[in-house]
Amino acid sequence: MNILLEHETPATDLDQMEIVYQRPDALTDLATHYCPGCSHGVIHHLIAEVIDELGIRSHTIGVAPVGCAVFAYKYFNLDSCEAAHGRAPAMATGIKRVLPDHIVFTYQGDGDLASIGGNEILHAALRGERITVIFVNNAVYGMTGGQMAPTTLAGMKTTSSPAGRNPLTQGYPLHLTEMLATMPGVAYAVRRSMHSVAETRKTKKAIRHAFTAQQQGLGLSIVEILAACPTNWHVEPADALDYIRDRMLPEYPVGDFKVSEGLGDRRLGD
């Protein structure tokens, strides 16, 4: 067995061709620490593409969570910082309030956002902070090794619900995005999924709408994304996508729970 060269180059003559997909500017050139098949990498990619497309990289500030995406600040090629566990919306509030013309987004897992950080997102939403929240729901605590999250499915076995989550004692799966959508301060609240190419493309669009909502000063925008954690689900990456489709979607249907009018008029067409 041999170590491969850095790049595997195809036979075809590349000079004749146009580049149609390449690493976005808004990503640094670092390899990620994510497990094989982890959705975090894809979601980073989508966000970076949106930032490039909107041309906002140089006045965007990212706030990384505590969770597997803790190093997001290394992977995004823009100014960013690392919040305490669950406090990204508060940190983003602090930033946005003093830099109202900048674009500020948080990137948070379900443990970070929906468990320990429940109050910070609730109140950021209540206040209608003009920030964008990318909420990566993989139904477990990835980083700490697969414990139950508030979004863990009923019956799902995790290292802290070894008999399967019993909603009667451990709670029902939390539909945070729907709840946030009820608040006037929220401009855009949708759920998307990573289980197929088509859905991934829709996720990207939603991310673009979310940033646009912020650009328009409409309020808080949140995109919940059903994401794969093959490692802690103990399945192969490809099967993890099916798991999203077959297990997560029934509990967490994708959908637009709130699309503020200002945004809807101009943007939802595409």
Binding site: M1, N2, H33, C35, M143, G145, N232
Partner: protein, 189 residues
């Protein structure tokens, strides 16, 4: 006297379990022992290793800077631990995955085709135990029987079918080193 062993490989190669087997065997043999994993942010992939320290008195540091023995299941592990080994330390590595030769001349390096041995014993996943067998032949820290016993007791129930292949691989690794010794043990890998 304390002997420290680092077992290192890609995540999923079973380095941690091999270390635990060694620790169990040491304990059952009446030794003092500690086992400690490296734990990092990567859940899968990346390099995983553990350190086992075996002694006659209660073990001081469960971590060591310069180990007595290293079992390296991939190239990055050789790269990382070859420079750190104590003088006269033992480095056992999988020659199937590691093609380069060792640089230090003051250590004893033993290349074993662990991948091949494991495959012959029935599964690639037996590499860890094959290499443990090799280690214990090179440095007789505990009897192979004690490791066998540990396998009996601690192989997770869901892997019961792998018990015999594991034992076979353990001895196959040992046999390879023994055969090698009978010909010659070089100080260079």
């Amino acid at each position: 006297m304390e002997t420290s062993i680092i077992i290192s490989g890609f995540g999923g190669q079973g380095a941690l379990f091999a270390g635990q087997l060694l620790a169990y065997a040491a304990m059952e043999s009446g030794k003092e022992v500690t086992w400690i994993p490296s734990y990092g942010p990567e859940m899968r992939g990346g390099t995983a290793h553990c350190t086992v320290v075996i002694g006659d008195e209660p073990v001081g540091s469960p971590l060591v800077r310069n180990p007595d023995c290293v079992v390296a299941m991939n190239l990055p592990s050789v790269d990382k631990y070859e420079p750190l080994l104590k003088t006269q330390g033992r480095l056992i590595y999988d020659s199937t995955l590691v093609r380069r030769s060792l640089r230090r001349t003051d250590i004893a390096g033993v290349a074993i085709p662990a991948h091949d041995i494991a495959t012959r014993c029935g599964s690639q996943r037996l590499v860890n135990v094959a290499m443990l067998g090799a280690l214990l032949t090179l440095c007789p820290l505990v009897d192979l029987a004690a490791v066998e016993q540990a396998l009996h007791t601690h192989l997770p129930a869901r892997h019961a079918a792998l018990l015999r292949p594991n034992i076979v691989a353990l001895h196959a690794g040992a046999a390879y080193v023994k055969a090698l010794a009978e010909t010659q043990i070089t100080a260079r890998g």
